[in-house]
């Protein structure tokens, strides 16, 4: 089955082509079926491939060479191994559920077929990203998902804010992509190849970790790409704005899959990062800072999707924390569990928004649990999972991250614990404000409240089940020495040096995090049972306004650039370039004014010049050159 791996991206591509070219003519329901079926087909193929990989198979499937210059040869090749097969399953599996969800969620929208075309294109690009056997193919997928993200955030482009949110996401991603591109060029320049196997093979050939060496620079450049795509400090502000898109899009792209591309890339380049300790330090600190900062912001947000968005940023920060510790498999583990519960939470919030006819402000909700029981329960499961309550999936992965940070860097561990604390708090604040208490909206909205149809609830239930059991493939070392996922991934990902913790310490850590999670969950529930929404002041106001990061960027980057552009326009563009271009025109005109005196209009004169030129050429050719 592995040799047919090209089928996996092929199906969504076909779905995109059909829906994309026929979006004016294809009926909505058919468009949804095409979109979902294509992803289901890839999921089936991915599943078959996964089982083969589980039995130890891995392969590089080359379709054709598309760049062939000199010694450099970059084929369009797919790398199938444990890492990519896990991602395949996450993308196609969750992707399929979200497609099914979308058939119902988007049914009112007139651009539904176009939406499915974009969604399929996204799945295709994402699959290209994780399947590529070299950085260039990954880069193609990387740009492709960026494009789809832009298209889908601005899907309701008639709203100006939404369209500019899409643009913001695109521009910020481009900043990161430049880093990725530079990293790629550095690899090409230093190693002459972009193919993983060749590149890592060269790395393996007895090279010591060297500080400030080229490895660090390559690793940092690649990490800048990851920062852009995975919304880390300082390029995280686009992700909350990206919530302008349809909610399933937020679930699929901006929570479960695309934003984890950075994690995938660093896990894929684990060998490189193992040789670049400085870069790893940076990754870890940025991850910790992001986790902390986003968590603080999430505490004071009132938009249901914004809260989830900041929690996503925060969780991504956790993943990068793990990466910074060299615990790549742990990060991938968290990617997986996070994909389950965050998709669940987003879809649940979508269900809520659906019921509230588009209202997203939690100050106007409350008591929704009475009307939509399934959504409430599944959302609760999601909250439990993300908060890190024991025996839910998030607990295992987050605990593993915290354990790895404790072993390496106590400072980061402290930040991580505080962030986890806040996570539990704001999630239960969100849950409580939304589902319990009295309804605070208008009468019309209350009258309209209803449970969502099966196409929405079934994915919710499935994801809820996954959120519960998903963690058991990576039980901590104290319970069982056999870490299933880490073992499975070890064939393609090499973890950095991890200090082993004694069982005693581990139990202690588990105890601490369990206690914190439970305590702050309850606190979050209790503190928000009787909400009163007074205008915030002091630190709370700073938090509500997201630490004024957007304003800071505006003052530090946007306005100086505008000023500079105006200056350049006035002096360089108008006087320099325009002057030069006009000068060329003027000089040609002046010259031709003189030259046209040669044009006597006398044919005889022309023939004479012709013969003369011929004679001179002959003379030159025969006597001077020859």
């Amino acid at each position: 089955m592995i040799q047919f791996v090209y089928l996996v991206p092929l199906f969504p591509l076909l779905g995109f082509l059909i829906n994309g070219f026929g979006w004016r003519t294809i009926p909505k329901s058919l468009g949804g079926i095409i979109g979902s079926a294509s992803v289901l087909a890839s999921f089936v193929v991915s599943l078959l491939i996964f089982f083969e990989v589980k039995n130890g198979a891995n392969a590089t499937v080359t379709l054709f060479d598309f760049i062939q210059t000199g010694k450099l040869s970059i084929p369009l090749a797919f790398r199938v191994d444990s890492l990519s097969s896990v991602f395949l399953l996450i993308i196609t599996g969750i992707g399929f559920l979200i497609h099914v969800y979308s058939t119902s969620y988007m049914h009112e929208d007139e651009g539904m077929v176009k939406y499915f075309a974009y969604l399929n294109l996204f799945v295709f690009s994402m699959l290209l990203l994780v399947l590529g056997a070299n950085y260039l193919v990954m880069y193609m997928g990387w740009e492709g998902v960026g494009l789809c993200s832009y298209l889908l955030i601005g899907f309701w482009y008639k709203n100006n804010d939404f369209a500019s949110a899409g643009r913001k996401a695109f521009v910020m991603n481009r900043i990161g992509d430049l880093g990725f591109l530079v990293g790629m060029l550095l690899i090409l320049f230093n190693f002459g190849t972009l193919t993983y196997t060749d590149f890592f093979g060269q790395l393996n050939n007895g090279l010591e970790p060297v500080r400030n060496s080229v490895y660090n620079w390559i690793a940092i450049c690649l990490f800048i790409g990851a920062v852009g795509k995975s919304a880390q400090i300082p390029l995280f502000t686009w992700l909350p704005d990206a919530m302008a898109g349809p909610t399933p899009v937020s679930a699929l792209i901006h929570a479960a899959t695309m934003v984890t591309a950075g994690v995938y890339m660093i896990a894929r380049s684990s060998l490189l990062y193992n040789l670049a300790p400085d870069a790893l330090q940076i990754v870890g600190w940025i991850g910790a800072a992001t986790a902390f900062m986003a968590a603080t912001i999430a505490i004071k947000q009132y938009d249901i999707k914004k809260v989830l968005a900041y929690s996503t940023v925060s969780q991504l920060g956790f993943m990068f924390m793990a990466l910074g510790m060299g615990a790549y498999t742990t990060a991938v583990f968290h990617v997986m569990t996070h994909a389950f519960f965050k998709a669940l939470l987003f879809l649940g919030s979508g269900s809520v928004i659906h019921a509230m006819s588009g209202e997203q402000d939690i100050r106007k909700m409350g008591g929704l649990g009475k009307h939509m029981r399934t959504t409430q329960i599944t959302f609760l499961i999601g909250c439990l999972a993300i908060a890190g309550i024991p025996f839910f999936s998030g607990f295992f992965s987050k605990d593993e991250i915290l354990a790895s940070t404790f072993a390496q860097n106590k400072m980061i561990y402290a930040i991580g614990i505080i962030s986890a604390m806040m996570t539990a708090f704001y999630m239960f604040r969100l849950y409580t404000l939304t589902f319990t208490g009295k309804f605070r909206g208008t009468h019309e909205q209350e009258h309209h409240l209803h449970e969502s149809p099966a196409a929405i609830t079934i994915p919710l239930v499935l994801l809820a089940v996954l959120s519960i059991i998903g963690g058991y493939i990576g039980l901590p070392a104290v319970i069982t020495e056999h870490h299933t996922l880490a073992h499975f991934l070890s064939s393609s990902v090499t973890n950095g040096l991890t200090a082993h913790l004694s069982h005693q310490t581990e139990w202690m850590l588990i105890g601490i995090s369990s206690f914190i999670a439970i305590a702050f969950s309850i606190y979050g529930y209790m503190a928000n049972r009787q909400p009163n929404f007074v205008p915030n002041s002091g630190l709370a106001k700073v938090l509500e306004n997201k630490w004024y990061v957007d304003e800071l960027y505006d003052a530090l980057v946007v306005r100086p650039i505008n000023e500079l552009s105006a200056l350049l326009d006035r002096f360089v563009e108008r006087m320099g370039i325009d002057g030069f271009v006009n000068g060329v025109g003027k000089s040609v005109r002046w010259g031709s004014d003189r030259m046209r005196l040669l044009q006597t209009g006398q044919v005889g004169f022309y023939i004479f010049i012709l013969v003369l030129g011929m004679t001179v050429l002959f003379a030159l050719g025969f006597f001077w050159i020859g």
């Binding site: 209009g601 006398q602 005889g604």
Partner: protein
């Protein structure tokens, strides 16, 4: 017999054609001089064909003839039109391109 004989002959004819084109003002005569030059080239091609025992250059002569015939058809039509307008075939009258 060395090929040089034919080289010189065809160059002589060619140069006579050029002289004619330079000396005369009658458009038709200039046209005829061009035909003369083409024929000089044809002659050279045939000589080379004989030298190399290769038919290709004779085929080139055919193509030159075709082009020459087409050129004469169009060119003479142009000259006739010109004569109809200005009642002369003096090329020096046709200097309007200057303006």
């Amino acid at each position: 017999m060395p090929i040089q004989y034919y080289l010189f002959l065809s160059f002589a004819l060619f140069c006579i054609g050029i002289m004619g084109a330079l000396m005369r003002r009658n458009a038709i005569i200039i046209f005829m001089c061009i035909e003369l030059m083409l024929n000089a080239v044809n002659l050279l091609l045939v000589a080379f064909s004989k030298m190399y025992n290769d038919a290709s250059s004779q085929i080139f002569v055919f193509f030159i003839m075709v082009v020459a015939a087409a050129e004469v058809a169009v060119g003479l039509a142009v000259i006739v039109m010109m004569y109809r307008r200005v009642h002369s075939v003096d090329i020096n009258i046709l200097n309007r391109l200057k303006h």
